[in-house]
Subunit: 306 residues, 2 copies
DNA sequence: ACGATCTTTTAGTTTCACTACACAGTCCGC
DNA sequence: GCGGACTGTGTAGTGAAACTAAAAGATCGT
């Protein structure tokens, strides 16, 4: 007793003849007859009986045909389950971000998607090396990753949605001699001690580019990934650091000065497996991420700070 | 997307590896892998993903696996539908009977099965010739039929449950000269005019046997199938008639006298197709029919008449 | 009685799920 | 770190199952 045989039985109940069922199912009457015989073989009481030259259902056959209808509707529901799953606006969407992007984007995202019937956010921070961003898309629907402008592009296995192209400024103590200048050149800062990131993390290449532009080798005094930690060290006179202009919360004792002469920008992208955007909820979050990026770029992110 | 593929997907969700599913379903992992691939071909988003060297369900896969469970339970219900149909005590049971059996059995049957949760009776009278009783089992669950003791048995296509072996008495007007005798011989009645049944109906052979036993040819004055009609004609002096001792309601102006010397009995059987008794409701009615037969034989049928 | 209609049977073909086997990726212990 | 165990996947071949075609059997209407 399989789905097809039950289907045939139900059709026979509705259409009232083997020929009609065959026409409806686009096969020969012979096929219908054979399948009915197979179904009957599994059941100890007659399901059909001849009525003149037509074949109709017995009471037992009608009972089984009724159950067949339930099987078919369950199958139809199963066939629609995937689309429904994809079209649900309120599914859980997991988003991973490296620290500074999380600090900047997560609050905006939570605020934008606070209402009911929207995606349920599952946020996570993930500070990994450049190469480890793409694999994160296996675990998270969306991954906020960053890379330098001239770094190699993301692998083809992931889709990258550009969110922000953010300048990297030089952070220095408010009382520092260089703080008086409106903008800094590589020669201004090449001899200063630098607070760099760990190996494999994106900002590193820019520090090296600055030193190279001035014909020096960079003085790497400290290795600190976390911008908030680095900011404190800069304020305490530990050295200079490159800091993103928009996504790091301003430190009261620090000033950010733009660099000229070298391309010092990082790109923030949302990475994801292509199929993830089949889900409406994921598309919604991605749209909100772009909106948040505009907010951040236009300097509206910290409005609530007065 | 068929039932088997959904089954495989569900098992994969529960067991967590292709090999485990293969073991559970008694096939090779290759077969599982191929079926998963076929299922995936019909769905635009990934249902499974590698996790180390194992294969697990994606969220979409889990959604579909959930729907698969419903399909399976619907199929399981379908597989049990027939048995449930057979085990239901409250189905409709159709019973056909020739006139006198209906008059005697139907009231007892209705009284015995009056309660709720019992079979719903669909009664019908059917006065047909001997040969036409077996075909009635196509239309009715149970058919009360009668035949003479020495008549050929019912064909093998039907099952016969013996209910009653009933003497046939000679009915004569209360004032008839023969009414004084306690029992009658063939010679007593052979020369009397008879009220016989139509050709092909069971009682005929016995009338002929009586005449033959006396060395005569029977005088067939009238042809009346219905015992109640025949009784009125006998009472009016139209002739003698053979009447069943128990299943005909006594006529006030008639007496019934037993015959000796010839075997004058009819058998009342319940005929049915063998598979009909697969239904519990039919078995219940058959049991009640046997009980009713005892009641009739023991003369308790007309208790309510005072 | 005959043709039309419907179902069933039989034989042959096609389709499809499966096995066997080889191979590739991943984990684990020495 | 490297072979060996484990897990999943691809390929060719096999067998079962569902189908078509053709013919026969059954029933209806004229």
């Amino acid at each position: 007793m399989d789905e097809r045989q039950l289907r045939i039985l139900r059709e026979l109940g509705e259409l009232g003849s083997v020929t009609a069922v065959a026409d409806a199912l686009l096969v020969t009457p012979s096929a219908i007859s054979q399948q009915l015989r197979l179904l009957q073989r599994a059941i100890p009481v007659p399901l059909t009986e001849r009525q003149g030259r037509r074949l109709v259902l017995t009471d037992a056959g009608q009972a089984l045909a009724g159950a067949a209808t339930e099987v078919e509707s369950a199958l139809a529901r199963a066939r629609h389950t995937v689309e429904e799953f994809l079209d649900r606006p309120d599914g859980e969407v997991s988003v991973a971000a490296f620290s500074s992007a999380g600090a900047a984007f997560f609050p905006l995202l939570l605020r934008a998607l606070a209402g009911p019937d929207g995606p349920v956010l599952a946020l996570a921070d993930a500070d990994v090396t450049q190469d480890d961003f793409p694999p994160l898309t296996r675990e998270y629907d969306l991954v906020l990753a960053h890379r330098l402008d001239h770094a190699p592009p993301w692998p083809r296995t992931v889709t990258a949605t550009p969110l922000l192209s953010e300048p990297l400024d030089v952070a220095l103590p408010a009382g520092h001699p260089l703080a008086a200048k409106p903008r800094l050149t590589p020669r201004d800062v090449a001899d200063q001690p630098w607070i760099a990131v760990h190996d494999g993390f994106p900002i590193m290449a820019t520090i090296e580019a600055i030193a190279t532009a001035a014909g020096r080798r960079p003085r790497l005094a400290h290795r600190i990934n976390e911008f908030s930690v680095a900011a404190e060290v800069v304020a305490a006179g530990g050295g200079l650091a490159l800091m993103p202009r928009w996504t790091s919360r301003p430190h009261p004792d620090l000033v950010l000065k733009p660099l000229s002469g070298v391309q010092a920008r990082r790109r923030i992208d949302a990475l994801h497996r292509p199929e993830r955007t089949a889900r409406k909820a994921v598309r919604t979050v991605l749209t909100e991420l772009r909106g948040a990026a505009r907010t951040i770029r236009d300097g509206l992110a910290h409005d609530d700070d007065g």
